[in-house]
């Protein structure tokens, strides 16, 4: 069991000692029984911290903001940032370290094990409650959650509302940390690639019809890109005309600049955006599930990233975020890399 008091004590200690600048954790929302990101600067504020299966956010994203913020400071505070991570989030930090985006000394990691549960998928919960609002959720029992709505209490088997990526997860404990809270419980998940295999078994036309229907829903809000810790490029390739324009660029030059994707949310442009993002995530995606969670129109974005995760394991024996010393996937190669597809 992860003891919330242990977490609070540890964070209070490092804040009092001045070991970290501030701490990134979770606190409960004012109006709902769900968590939201919390930024603790003063030791007395640790009482706000919470830890339960509603702590779904991947806080590693805020390390990207911290780096940008620090870069604009004249006399930067060199102390690390404290952060609290689950298994998948810790792998995200490993990828950022592997790519030399941040240094290991820039973060003080309190790793928390998910043990036998994971995080709740709010959409699944909403469907289960038939759109009634959850007022309180009790996580006490191991396999069941007790949800209170204004109709009374309801027992919900955890398997029915846990996020898909949690049900398929095998890193339910952090792989990089300074402090480890909870127990390291090995778990055999369901086949992580079952949903991928289902789609792979369809004919090309069926596959296309499935994806076209999903991709047509896209409104190009770019929330999936904004929430991903690995999408840290200052200028994204789909917005690729901003940074390269200066005061001296002529109108003619601006007109001739290569635009990889148009702004219009039409099928071909949406496909280009999602496919390029999936390819850029190959060997880097840790399946935290955030991209799919934040999508306002429910596109199954995880499936695209998961497909390449499967290929990367099968073709190159590579998994993202376990070893920050290993060279990144697409910056390395083996003599014996598969090439039967090459004439």
């Amino acid at each position: 069991m992860v003891n919330l008091q242990d977490l609070k004590k540890e964070v209070q200690k490092i804040l009092k000692e001045g070991k970290i600048k501030y701490f990134i954790g979770y606190e409960k929302r004012e109006d709902e029984p769900f968590a939201k990101p919390s930024f603790i600067k003063k030791p007395e504020d640790v009482e706000k911290l919470t830890w339960n299966p509603t702590c779904v956010h991947n806080l590693a994203r805020f390390l990207v903001f911290e780096k940008r913020r620090k870069a604009s400071e004249k006399e930067p505070d060199e102390r690390p940032v404290g952060i609290m991570v689950k298994g998948c989030d810790s792998r995200a930090i490993n990828v950022l370290i592997q790519e030399k985006f941040i240094n290991r000394e820039d973060v003080y990691i309190i790793g928390v094990s998910c043990e036998n549960t994971g995080v709740i998928d709010e959409k699944k919960l909403s469907k289960k409650l038939k759109n009634k609002q959850a007022q309180k959720i009790d996580f006490g029992e191991k396999d069941n959650f007790v949800v209170t709505t204004n109709d009374g209490k309801m027992k919900v088997p955890s398997k029915e509302i846990l996020a898909d990526n949690c049900l398929e997860c095998k890193t339910n404990y952090p792989v990089v940390y300074d402090v480890f809270l909870g127990e390291k419980i090995e778990r055999k998940p369901e086949d992580p690639f079952e949903s991928i295999k289902k789609i792979e078994s369809l004919s090309p036309k069926e596959k296309y019809n499935f994806w076209k229907e999903q991709i047509d829903k896209c409104i190009r809000c770019y929330a999936c890109r904004s929430v991903c810790p690995m999408c840290y490029c200052d200028e994204c390739v789909v917005d690729s005309i901003e940074l390269s324009v200066t005061a001296e660029t002529t109108a003619d030059e601006k007109a001739k600049k290569i635009i990889w994707t148009e702004k219009s949310p039409v099928s071909s442009e949406n496909f280009t955006y999602h496919l390029v993002r999936a390819i850029h995530m190959a060997g880097r995606c840790v399946d935290c599930g955030e991209c799919e969670r934040v999508c306002p129109v429910d596109i199954p974005i995880r499936l695209l990233n998961k497909k390449l995760e499967k290929e990367v394991v099968e073709l190159f024996d590579y998994e993202a975020g376990f070893d920050s010393d290993r060279p990144p996937l697409l910056s390395s190669f083996k003599e014996k890399d598969p090439q039967e597809f090459i004439r």
């Binding site: 991928i196 789609i199 792979e200 090309p204 036309k205 069926e206 596959k207 296309y208 019809n209 499935f210 994806w211 076209k212 390739v237 990889w260 039409v266 099928s267 071909s268 442009e269 496909f271 280009t272 496919l275 390029v276 999936a278 390819i279 190959a282 695209l304 497909k307 390449l308 290929e311 990367v312 073709l315 190159f316 996937l329 697409l330 910056s331 190669f333 003599e335 890399d337 598969p338 090439q339 597809f341 090459i342 004439r343």
Partner: protein, 140 residues
């Protein structure tokens, strides 16, 4: 003459090997179908997935990426990176429903003019029954 579908192929050929190979085919007057739009790139490793997606978006029916044989890359390692990258691009395009025969990769050296013509001939034959590529094409 029947109004048969003629596929358009965009070929990214690396300057030092494959593009030279295609020039050899030309100079030797080897016959091969005129369906190819050749684009010379410095190295197969410089072919970004965006080039391939752009080609399909603009209406290419097939895309070929061709480079030096492993071990012979002018920049030593470029084709090894390309091998990994194009493998993944192929897999994801197949996953969203693009017919797998539409994206192909080959190793063609500067001396292999005939391999170039054979590759193109076979590619055109494979694409003809598939018809025009409409799935990633930019609509109105």
């Amino acid at each position: 003459m029947s109004d048969q579908f003629e596929p358009k192929i965009v070929a990214f050929l690396c300057k030092w090997c494959s593009s030279a190979g295609s020039d050899l085919a030309g100079v030797s007057r080897m016959k091969y179908p005129p369906n190819v739009v050749p684009i010379t790139v410095m190295c197969s490793g410089s072919v970004s997935p965006l080039y391939i997606l752009s080609a399909f978006k603009r209406g290419a029916d097939g895309v070929l990426v061709s480079g030096c044989h492993p071990g012979d890359c002018h920049y030593i390692k470029g084709n090894y990176y390309a091998r990994r990258r194009i493998a993944l691009v192929k897999k994801i395009l197949e996953f969203i429903g693009l017919e797998p025969q539409r994206l192909q990769m080959s190793w063609i050296s500067a001396a292999e003019g005939s391999k170039y013509t054979e590759t193109i001939k076979d590619f055109v034959q494979e694409l003809k029954p598939l018809g025009p590529q409409t799935r990633l094409r930019r609509g109105k």
